[in-house]
C-alpha cells in the first residue's frame, strides 16, 4: 500500500513584484494529518505564500502540489478539497451569515438542503445565529468565525488559514482550536499562519519560519525548541530582531 502523498509540496516557489522578491525560492513539505505553523515577521511573505497555494496569485516560478494534485493544472480538483480562511475578509457584506454559508456549500457541490442544514448547524456552534443580520454589520471577530465556518462546511482535507484567530475573542478562539484539533485527529491537515506564538506552540506539530521570502528554519516544534526555549525565543533568535527603538530619542 503506497503512502499517501504529502498534503503540501512546494519546490522553488518564487513571487517577484517589480524588482523585489516577496517569496524567494521556498521549498516546503507538509505531511498529511499535520498541524503546520507558518511563521514570520510582518512582510516576510506568509500571506503571499498562502495566496499562491490557493491559486489567487500565480507564482513567478516554482511548483505547487496540494494533496498530490498539481497547481494550476488540477486547480478545480484542489479547490474542491481545501478550506480557506484568509487574512482579508472574503465575505459578501450584503448577505446574512446563513445565506453566505449556503452559497459556499452549494459552490462546493453540496445539495441545497444539505448546505442549508450544515450552515445552520455551523452558525449555532459559532454563536452567529442572529437571524437576518447582514455580514456588513458583523464585527471583525464574527467575520473570522464565519470565514472559519465557511471553510468547514464542505469537510475539506486541507485547511489553509491566514491569521485565523486575529480579532477573535478567547471563547471563539478556544472553539476554533478544538474544532481544528478534532479535524487533525480525523486526518485533515492544517496549514496556518499566526502572530500569536502561544497558540502556535499549543497547536502545531511542525513549524517553518520565513523571513524576507526565504525559509530560515523548519522542523518539528519540539526539535526547534530544543527543550529549553519558548517558540518566541526561537523566533526572535532566528529572525534576528534587535532593540531598534533606542534610536527614537524624541519618544
Amino acid at each position: 500500500m503506497t503512502e499517501p502523498s504529502p498534503a503540501i509540496v512546494v519546490r522553488g516557489l518564487r513571487k517577484v513584484y517589480g524588482n523585489k522578491a516577496a517569496v524567494d525560492g521556498v521549498n516546503l513539505t507538509v505531511p498529511r494529518g499535520c498541524f503546520f505553523g507558518f511563521l514570520g515577521p510582518n512582510g516576510a511573505g506568509k500571506s503571499t505564500t498562502i495566496r499562491m497555494l490557493t491559486g489567487l496569485v500565480p507564482p513567478t516560478s516554482g511548483e505547487i502540489e496540494l494533496l498530490g494534485l498539481r497547481m494550476p493544472g488540477q486547480e478545480t480538483e484542489i479547490k474542491q478539497r481545501i478550506g480557506l480562511v484568509p487574512d482579508e475578509s472574503l465575505l459578501f457584506d450584503r448577505l446574512t451569515g446563513a445565506e453566505f454559508l449556503e452559497f459556499v456549500g452549494r459552490m462546493y457541490g453540496l445539495d441545497r438542503a444539505v448546505a442549508r442544514d450544515r450552515g445552520r448547524a455551523l452558525l449555532d456552534v459559532f454563536k452567529l445565529n442572529e437571524n437576518r443580520k447582514l455580514i456588513a454589520e458583523y464585527s471583525k471577530g464574527m467575520r473570522k468565525r464565519l470565514a472559519m465556518a465557511a471553510a468547514l462546511i464542505h469537510h475539506p482535507d486541507l485547511f489553509l488559514m491566514d491569521e485565523p484567530f486575529e480579532g477573535v475573542d478567547a471563547v471563539g478562539a478556544r472553539l476554533m482550536k478544538d474544532i481544528l484539533l478534532d479535524q487533525v485527529r480525523r486526518g485533515a491537515t492544517i496549514f496556518l499562519t499566526s502572530h500569536v506564538l502561544e497558540v502556535v506552540e499549543r497547536l502545531c506539530d511542525r513549524v517553518a519560519i520565513i523571513q524576507e521570502g526565504r525559509i530560515v528554519t523548519e522542523g518539528a516544534l519540539a526539535d526547534l525548541r530544543g527543550g529549553a526555549e519558548s517558540l518566541e525565543e526561537v523566533f526572535v533568535r532566528v529572525v534576528g530582531a534587535e532593540r531598534e527603538f533606542a534610536k527614537l530619542d524624541w519618544l
Binding site: 459578501f92 456588513a136 454589520e137
Partner: protein, 552 residues
C-alpha cells in the same frame, strides 16, 4: 515636546496640503500602477466629455461677445441655468462627486472648519462643466465693449468668483443633507422619487402645454433682483452693480451658513446606526421576496443557480443599486415622456411610437453602472471568493449576467406599469416589442460589460448611495460605447422605417439577436481568458483602499 501648531494659517494650510497630497498619492498609485489602461480610458473619456463642454463654453463666449446689449438680457437666464444644473444635476444623476472620507479623517486633530473648506473645494468635481461655461461667458463679456470691456475685468471676475463660491457652498450643504437623508433606510427611495418628480415636472408641464405661462414667469424671475443669479448678473454686467453685489454677497453668506450647518450635522451623523438591521432575532420572519431569490434555483443548477441567487440578494440590498434601479423606471419615464409628447402635445413622433422600448433601453444603460459594467465592483475584496471556489470564472460571469438580465426584465415590467399608470396608451404589441428589443440590446451591453469588468474593475462602496468621482466619466463612457452597442437594435428600427414593414423589423432584430449571442460568447471567452491572466491585478484593483477623499 509640543504638538504641531494648527491654529495658525500656516499650520492649517499644511493640513489641507497633507490631505490633498495623500489623495494625490492614492490616485497616482492607482492610475500609474496596476491599471494603466484603465487610466488611459478614463483620461480619454474625460477629454471627450470636457472637450464637449469647452466647445459649448466657446459658443457662449462668442454669443456674449457678439450679442451687443442683448448680453445683459441673456446673462441672468444663463446664470439661472448654471445654478440649476450645478445644484440639481448631481442629485438627479446620483453622482455627487468626490467628498472627504470623514471616517478616516475624524481621528486626526483637524479643525472642522478646515475639513469644510476642503469639502467645499471638492464640489468643483461635480460641475467642472459649469466652470467652463462661466469662463466662456466672462470672456465674452470682457470682449463686449458695451459692458465695459477689459477695463471692467475686476468687476466681472469678482462677480463670477463670488457666484462660483455661492454655488460651491450651497452644493456642499445640499450634498451633506441629501447624503444623510439617503443613508436612512426608509427615506432614500422616496426621496429619489421626489427629486425626480421635482426635476421632471416643469418640463412635463411645458411639453403638455399645461402651464406654459407659469414657466415663462419662472424664467422672468431670472431678472428678479433678490435672486442670487440676478444679483450676480447685475454685478458682472454693471448698471447698478452695487445692489447686485450686495444681493449676491448676502446669498453667499447664507449659503456658507447653510453649508457649514449641514456639514456639522453630517460629522455627528451615525450612518451605521441609521443602517442597522432592526430585527428581533426571536421573530425570524422569512425574507420578503424569498420566493424570487429562490426562483433561479428551481430552473438552474448549482453553481450557476447559487451565484444568481447570491447576486439577486446582494444587489437588492445594496442602497446604490436600489437607487439606480428606481431611477431607471421613474426617471426614464418622466424624462422621455416630454420628448415623446413634444411641444405640440402630439404622440406621433418616433420616440412616442416606441416610447416603451426607448425607456426600457434607457433603464438598461442606467443599470450598467451598478451591475454589468463593473460586475465585481460591489464585491470588492470578496471577489477573491470566486477565484478560490471550484467554479470557473465563466460560470461566475454568466451568473452575474443572468442576475442583471432578471433585473432588466423587472425594470421593463416596472416601466410598463409606470407608463400605464400615467395613462400612456401602449398597445400589447409594443409591450412585447420592448421585451424583445431590450434583451437583444442587453446581449451587446453585457458582452462589453464582461470585458469592462475584468479589464477595468473598480471597487464600489455599496454604502455610498451616490456615485462619487466626476459624473462626466460615466456619461462620457455612455457616449462612447453605448451607441455602438445599440447600433444593431437601431438598425432594426431603421429597417422598419425604410421598408415600412414589421417583418423587416423582426427579421433584422432576429439577426441582431443571433449576432449578439455570438458577440456575447466571444466576449465571454475573452473575458475569462483575461480574468485568468490578470487575476492578480483584478483582485488588487478591487481590494484597493482609498485616500482621504472617497471617490466611489
Amino acid at each position: 515636546m509640543a504638538p504641531p501648531d494648527i491654529s495658525t494659517g500656516r499650520g492649517r494650510v499644511r493640513m489641507i496640503a497633507a490631505i490633498l497630497r495623500a489623495q494625490w498619492l492614492s490616485m497616482r498609485g492607482f492610475r500609474l500602477g496596476s491599471s494603466r489602461r484603465g487610466a488611459a480610458l478614463s483620461l480619454g473619456i474625460a477629454f471627450a466629455w470636457y472637450g464637449f463642454w469647452a466647445m459649448l463654453g466657446l459658443m457662449v463666449e462668442e454669443a456674449m461677445a457678439g450679442s451687443g446689449a442683448q448680453a445683459g438680457t441673456l446673462l441672468p437666464t444663463g446664470l439661472l441655468l448654471v445654478f440649476l444644473y450645478w445644484q440639481l444635476a448631481p442629485l438627479v444623476s446620483a453622482s455627487m462627486g468626490a467628498s472627504l472620507d470623514l471616517r478616516k479623517l475624524l481621528v486626526y486633530p483637524v479643525p472642522h472648519r478646515l475639513l469644510f473648506r476642503v469639502e467645499v473645494l471638492l464640489r468643483l468635481t461635480t460641475c467642472a462643466e459649469m466652470l467652463l461655461l462661466l469662463a466662456g461667458g466672462v470672456a465674452g463679456l470682457l470682449r463686449n465693449s458695451l459692458y465695459g470691456g477689459w477695463t471692467a475685468a475686476p468687476r466681472l471676475l469678482s462677480g463670477a468668483l463670488v457666484f462660483v463660491a455661492f454655488n460651491l457652498l450651497l452644493a456642499a450643504g445640499l450634498r451633506c443633507l441629501v447624503e444623510r437623508l439617503l443613508a436612512r433606510k426608509h427615506i432614500r427611495e422616496a426621496l429619489v422619487l421626489f427629486l425626480v418628480l421635482a426635476v421632471a415636472t416643469p418640463r412635463l408641464l411645458v411639453s403638455t402645454g399645461r402651464a406654459p405661462r407659469s414657466l415663462d414667469e419662472m424664467f422672468a424671475a431670472a431678472h428678479f433682483l433678490p435672486c442670487p443669479w440676478a444679483g450676480a448678473a447685475r454685478w458682472m454686467a454693471g448698471g447698478g452693480w452695487v445692489a447686485g453685489a450686495a444681493v449676491l454677497a448676502a446669498w453667499t453668506l447664507a449659503a456658507w451658513a447653510f453649508g457649514r450647518w449641514q456639514f456639522e450635522r453630517s460629522l455627528r451623523f451615525d450612518a451605521q446606526a441609521a443602517r442597522a438591521t432592526e430585527i428581533d432575532p426571536a421573530e425570524a420572519k422569512p425574507v420578503r421576496l424569498e420566493w424570487l431569490f429562490r426562483l433561479p434555483g428551481s430552473l438552474l443548477r448549482d453553481p450557476l443557480a447559487a451565484i444568481v441567487e447570491k447576486e439577486l440578494r446582494s444587489l437588492s440590498r445594496t442602497p446604490r443599486f436600489r437607487l439606480v434601479f428606481i431611477m431607471g423606471f421613474s426617471f426614464g419615464v418622466l424624462v422621455w415622456l416630454p420628448v415623446a409628447i413634444g411641444q405640440q402635445g402630439r404622440l406621433d413622433s418616433a420616440v412616442a411610437q416606441n416610447f416603451l422600448a426607448v425607456v426600457s433601453v434607457y433603464a438598461l444603460t442606467l443599470l450598467g453602472q451598478v451591475s454589468y459594467w463593473n460586475a465585481f465592483g460591489f464585491d470588492r475584496s470578496a471577489a477573491q471568493v470566486y477565484f478560490s471556489l471550484p467554479a470557473p470564472v465563466s460560470t461566475t460571469l454568466a451568473g452575474k449576467n443572468l442576475a442583471a438580465a432578471l433585473f432588466i426584465l423587472l425594470e421593463i415590467g416596472l416601466v410598463t406599469a409606470a407608463s400605464l399608470l400615467l395613462r400612456i396608451r401602449i398597445p400589447v404589441a409594443k409591450i412585447l416589442e420592448a421585451f424583445l428589443v431590450t434583451p437583444v440590446a442587453a446581449l451587446y451591453l453585457l458582452a462589453i460589460g464582461n470585458l469592462s469588468s475584468v479589464h477595468y474593475p473598480r471597487a464600489m462602496n455599496p454604502e455610498r448611495v451616490s456615485q462619487g468621482g466626476a459624473a462626466g466619466r460615466w456619461q462620457g463612457l455612455v457616449f462612447l460605447f453605448f451607441p455602438a452597442a445599440l447600433l444593431p437594435v437601431f438598425l432594426a428600427y431603421l429597417a422598419r422605417a425604410v421598408f415600412d414593414s414589421q417583418t423587416a423589423f423582426y427579421g433584422v432584430l432576429a439577426f441582431a439577436a443571433l449576432l449578439g449571442a455570438v458577440v456575447y460568447r466571444i466576449a465571454m471567452d475573452s473575458a475569462v481568458e483575461a480574468a485568468g491572466r490578470r487575476r492578480e491585478t483584478l483582485l488588487a484593483e478591487l481590494s484597493r483602499g482609498e485616500g482621504p477623499v472617497a471617490s466611489e
